[in-house]
């Protein structure tokens, strides 16, 4: 049960880079596309885009599919959705509980 293998860790490591977040956002908004098309809309080379796509792929966030001579990249954000949703939901629950606890125990001590 190593937490190093936590999906959260893999997702956050992949998304720690601003350019990779931009690439991810483009794929989520625009749907499956090629590295060349992505590079057209970004201030970087196709090769640089491919490297970022590979890093996202290692975190399970992007899937590559060959179509003839082209490779289409597709966002597969389920790991991110699961991990982030768990974290935000759990965090929000504790925020509410701890705010109530703070009021509860403060009242008790005047």
């Amino acid at each position: 049960m190593s937490s190093r293998d936590d999906p959260l860790d893999r997702v956050f490591t992949a998304l720690a880079d601003g350019t990779r977040r931009t690439v991810m956002r483009q794929l989520l908004d625009g749907g499956p596309t090629t590295a060349s098309e992505l590079a057209d809309g970004l201030p970087m080379t196709r090769q640089a885009v491919v490297k970022h796509l590979q890093a996202l792929g290692q975190a399970g966030l992007v899937d590559a599919q060959r179509a003839g001579r082209e490779v289409h990249y597709r966002a597969t954000p389920k790991p991110m959705g699961d991990a982030v949703a768990w974290m935000l939901r759990t965090g929000a629950q504790w925020d509410k509980r701890l705010e109530r606890l703070r009021r509860q125990v403060s009242q008790r001590t005047g």
Partner: protein, 149 residues
């Protein structure tokens, strides 16, 4: 708003999915009672609570929202630390996460640190009862707000 923000701060430890730290204007004994006595837990959990706060003791948290969890106490260090594992009653133990409370006395009262960590990847996936569309919105937002370079 600012009061809340200064009292409850969230940080992220690589080994812990969710961590909250709160400074409480109350003696450690009072905080400990609020963490271990079911009738006091019920108030701030807004749930029906049963808890036997001894190592191996069992517990149950039935929330007003229908969230029904079973718990097993892992560690108890009277007045200082309480750890339990809990999971959805209808989901089984493979969906468990671990909750830990650590109390530290401070000049103004007590510092309480709460951590909750999923024990398996399935625990993350299983707690999503809401739909996929909602998650997609959430993660697009996250790309901009939550993750900072």
């Amino acid at each position: 708003m600012s009061d809340h923000a200064s009292d409850v701060e969230g940080t992220r430890d690589p080994d812990t999915a969710v961590r909250r730290e709160v400074e409480l204007d109350a003696a450690p004994t009072d905080v400990w009672n609020a963490l271990t006595r079911p009738e006091l837990l019920e108030q701030w959990f807004e749930a029906e609570v049963e808890l036997d706060p001894r190592p191996g003791g069992t517990g149950r948290f039935i929330g007003a929202d229908g969230d029904d969890r079973v718990a097993r106490v892992d560690d108890v260090d009277e007045g200082r630390r309480l750890a339990f594992t809990w999971w959805p009653d209808d989901g089984g133990e493979e969906l468990a996460s671990k909750v830990e409370f650590v109390l530290t006395p401070t000049p103004g009262g007590t510092r309480l640190v709460v951590t909750e960590s999923p024990l398996t990847a399935r625990a993350c996936a299983a707690t999503n009862s809401t739909g996929w569309a909602w998650r997609l919105e959430l993660l697009v937002l996250t790309l901009f707000l939550l993750v900072r370079a």
